[in-house]
Amino acid sequence: MTVTLRYFAWVRERIGRAEEQIDLPADITTVGELVQWLKARGPEYAHAFAKADVIRAAIDQTHVKPQAAIGGAREIAFFPPVTGG
């Protein structure tokens, strides 16, 4: 399954890109598993996700918890806690 990953704020800066398409391995079923898989992709990912519990995620533009099932997600985003307003 192909999924678009999007990164924002310092997650984006550390990874060095704003978005990318990935082929999701069949054994990755939750957001938390995806984070672990990404961390193994290279030092920039390891750096971005070093404190994985700080990073927030959204599936198809809705906030989700790490244990959320990826299901048929088209777009998964990772970002720091929000600071608008």
Binding site: W10, A58, Q61, P80, V82, T83, G84, G85
Partner: protein, 152 residues
């Protein structure tokens, strides 16, 4: 559409007028404006950049507005959040609430700000006098402010 994400500045009086024009059922209007401060943790800042998640931002703001409308009898709501580069003294965000009575207008405006601050996907980066940009950390106080509505 009562939610806008825009680079342009806004005018409070015009926004209020467009919500109240021709109506005689509104008794109370509360506005909240957030402004860029010239200092962060005791250090001067020269500018602030606001990044956001286009699409999700509008969805979250609309969701938060619907939550407020479900909780208070509101006759109007307006949310404007600016993006891009802003300087100290410039407006960041505007929330306007209209109701028959002031308590509802006040509470809904506070609620909207508390939810906006903790769920709308915006991120602030402050640039200091040395030209170095620093991402703003989320404030625990904002999470606490939001939690009071969840237990209420």
């Amino acid at each position: 559409m009562s939610v806008s994400v825009q680079a342009a500045a806004f005018n409070i009086a015009l926004e209020v007028r467009s919500l109240t024009a021709g109506r005689t059922d509104i008794g109370a209007v509360v506005t909240f404006t957030g402004i860029v401060r010239g200092e962060a943790k005791g250090h001067p800042i020269t500018s602030m950049e606001l990044e956001h998640y286009p699409g999700m931002t509008e969805r979250e703001l609309a969701r938060v507005e619907a939550l407020a409308r479900g909780r208070w009898p509101l006759q109007g709501v307006r949310i404007i959040h600016r993006i891009g580069v802003l300087r100290p003294g410039e407006d960041i965000v505007l929330v306007v609430t209209l109701s028959s009575h002031r308590q509802a207008a006040f509470e809904a405006a506070e609620f909207l700000m508390d939810y906006l601050k903790t769920s709308a996907p915006f991120w602030k980066k402050e640039t200091g006098a040395d030209g170095v940009g620093m991402w703003v950390d989320a404030r625990e106080a904002d999470n606490k402010a939001r939690e009071r509505w969840e237990s209420a």
